[in-house]
């Protein structure tokens, strides 16, 4: 408990606050820019945090990722296009409200819901840590290995439209991660004779190549709808009152958000839809949904901020990221010299508390700034993409070059970028690949330690057997479910 409040006093020193507000401001910008979400935002920050004070770096990273689901509401409401994948469902009712001249009401309700949801996520995270401690410390390398495999198979199965593509997608990440020096012995793998590849490909390159490059290219090809007008209308306080009136919706959807954030593989792209579906199913008067019902804004917005708190739980405790942005966060921890996993609870528990407070404060700052700066931010939504594109290319090439200061970085960015674009076009899940890439090193180490310490007996440990059953069951269930869906689709098509 003492450490809990000590972390707050550390965080409230001016330098930490500066980094936190810096992260929040960047997060607000990244959320508004189309196509860029938490993954790209965090990846751009990775070169910046090299050698930085750990608490400052935490404030920066968490400040950024916490507020993206707050600010990505602007394009959803004003233009009807999502600022990131976490606020697609907000469009359903947010955009109709804006057309009715009530954008301010929708945004006011969304920011209040985001704030409460984000605080709830941080609160749950703080509760889980002491409870999970004995359980987590019972995990050895064999269990951690299986848990990583479980996490990856869930990501693969849940993030794509075909389970097999998801698993191969995660495998693409593992193959990229296996390049370079082997962890256990001084041997270089898959270098194709290039010195550059001896250190392996950097996370910055893979994150930007798989996520930023394809979005920028697609937006350049497509162009992007521009908000016809940027009028906020009235109703800030009505929105705030709406959210407070529907406080039980907020809490229910925030709980959904935490749980989904915790489960590997679901993450940002479905949390908003699940919350939206939940609110429609549990409402008696449904006819106004899709036409501008404020509850349709409150539900996804309270869930998508809460998911970051849930997502941090497996990331910290087991070193298994639940989503793409958590994978980058995990990579950031490794850059800072922190090994996430059970040892976090014994050696770096103060960092977990710093993360919890950063998450809570970032949500407060984020909602506050979004309210205060709503007018200028709204003006940003009428800037055509072609004016932003060259600057985005500048930022990603600049960030990529910081990986190892060599031409290899720029060339690798281009090649991984082409791979990412093709994966996007043909429906190979990129978050699965990113998580596979980040986990490759840990997986290999856990596998080694398991085999070295227990021989092949590691396979017979009870925890390992339980998780093998869970993996098999989840794979089997998803294949059956997908087939049912397809059959249903066929009958629907015939009708």
């Amino acid at each position: 408990m003492e450490a809990f409040f000590q972390a707050l006093t550390v965080l409230l020193t001016p330098s930490h606050l500066v980094y936190l507000v810096g992260g929040v401001t960047l997060g607000l910008c990244v959320g508004i820019l189309p196509g860029l979400g938490g993954i790209v935002g965090m990846t751009i920050l990775l070169p910046v945090i090299y050698g930085m004070d750990i608490h400052n770096a935490f404030a920066l990273l968490i400040g950024m990722v916490a507020v993206i689901p707050t600010s990505d509401t602007f394009p959803s409401v004003m233009m009807g296009i999502p600022g990131s994948s976490a606020s697609q469902a907000t469009i359903m009712d947010g955009y109709p409200l804006a057309k009715k001249g009530e954008a301010a009401r929708a945004l006011g309700a969304a920011f209040t819901a985001s704030l409460i949801g984000g605080l709830f996520g941080a609160f749950v995270l703080s509760l889980i840590i002491p409870i999970a401690r004995p359980l987590v410390l019972a995990f050895g390398s064999p269990e951690l290995f299986m848990l990583a495999v479980l996490g990856m198979s869930m990501v693969g199965v849940l993030s794509g439209n075909q389970p097999i593509k998801g698993i191969i997608g995660a495998g693409i990440g593992l193959m990229l991660g296996a390049m370079g020096d082997a962890p256990a012995i001084a041997e270089y793998r898959y270098t194709f004779g290039f010195d550059y590849l001896m250190d392996g490909i950097s996370l910055v390159i893979v994150g930007l190549g798989l996520f930023a490059f394809p979005e920028i290219i697609d937006l350049l090809i497509k162009g992007r709808p521009i908000a016809e007008k940027a009028e906020l209308g009235r109703g800030w306080f009505d929105g705030l009152k709406d959210t407070l009136r529907h406080k039980w919706i907020v809490l229910r959807c925030a709980t959904i958000g935490v749980i989904i954030g915790f489960i590997p593989g679901l993450g940002g792209s479905v949390v908003d839809w699940i919350a939206y579906g939940h609110i429609i199913q549990t409402s008696k008067d449904r006819e106004r949904f899709g036409k501008g019902d404020i509850r349709g804004v409150i539900a996804p917005e309270s869930a998508n901020n809460a998911k970051e708190g849930g997502g941090l739980i497996p990331t910290f405790l087991f070193g298994i990221p639940g989503s793409g942005s958590m994978a980058v966060f995990l990579g950031g921890l490794l850059i800072l010299g922190i090994q996430p996993g059970p040892s976090m609870l014994t050696e770096n528990v103060d960092l977990i508390y710093t993360a919890i407070w950063s998450l809570a404060l970032a949500n407060i700052f984020g909602a506050g700034l979004a309210l205060m700066l709503a007018k200028p931010i709204t003006k940003l939504t009428i800037v055509p993409f072609r004016y932003l594109a060259p600057f985005m290319i500048l930022i990603i090439t600049f960030a990529a070059y910081q990986a190892s200061y060599s031409w290899g970085d720029l060339i690798a960015l281009l090649l991984v970028g082409i791979l990412g674009w093709l994966m996007k076009q043909f429906g190979w899940p990129r978050p699965a690949a990113l998580i596979g890439f980040v986990l490759a090193g840990n997986l290999e180490q856990y596998l080694f330690i398991s085999v070295q310490r227990y021989g092949f007996d590691w396979l017979t440990r009870p925890g390992v057997i339980i998780m093998t059953v869970i993996i098999a069951a989840s794979l089997g269930a998803s294949i059956v479910y997908q087939n049912k869906l397809k059959a249903a689709g066929r009958t629907a098509a015939k009708k």
Binding site: P47, V48, N161, I164, K165, I167, I168, G171, I172, L174, M175, A178, A182, A184, I185, E187, R189, Y190, I217, D218, L220, I221, K222, P384, R386, Y387, A389, P390, F391, I393, L394, T397, F398, Y401, Q402, Y405, W407, L410, I411, L414, I418, W421, L422, K424, Q425, F426, G427, A440, L443, E444, L447, F448, V451
Partner: protein, 166 residues
Amino acid sequence: MKQWMSIRNLFSLFLLAWFAYGVYEARGYGFLAKIFPMYVSLVLLVLVIVYIAIEIVQGIRKTGGGKGAATGSDLSVDWDMPLEEVYVAFMLNLGILIGVYIAIYLIGYPLAMTLFIFLFYRFMAGASWVASVVAGAAGLGFMAVASHVLGMDWPEGLIALPWPLG
């Protein structure tokens, strides 16, 4: 449709070649370095063969059904233009980027990027001369500040230029 193989199928074949190479190459590694890549690429090789079999079956079904081959029918991105145009536009944008890279190689990163932003604004985005100059200058300013404050570096060109241009 006569086109029997789409770029989508080619991508699957590329994965097949990649994983097969993964297995082939891993055979030569020492035991400690071998286990992980060997097993990962073996499993992936099997999975991708299964996947390609699924693709072929689906392709035959679709052609048999008289609805045309599987070309781009199940892309994950919604394009409101013909697929051929998308590929052409992609290659065009890729070409621009490669052009920028060549310019970076010749005249260094700051000057090349400043010129790129200026030219892109003027000729691709149709901005005015003044706006284009301002945008280019803003890009240069960003690079100067980022390299100075954050200690970041950039690629130098063949032609040495004084700071902040080279």
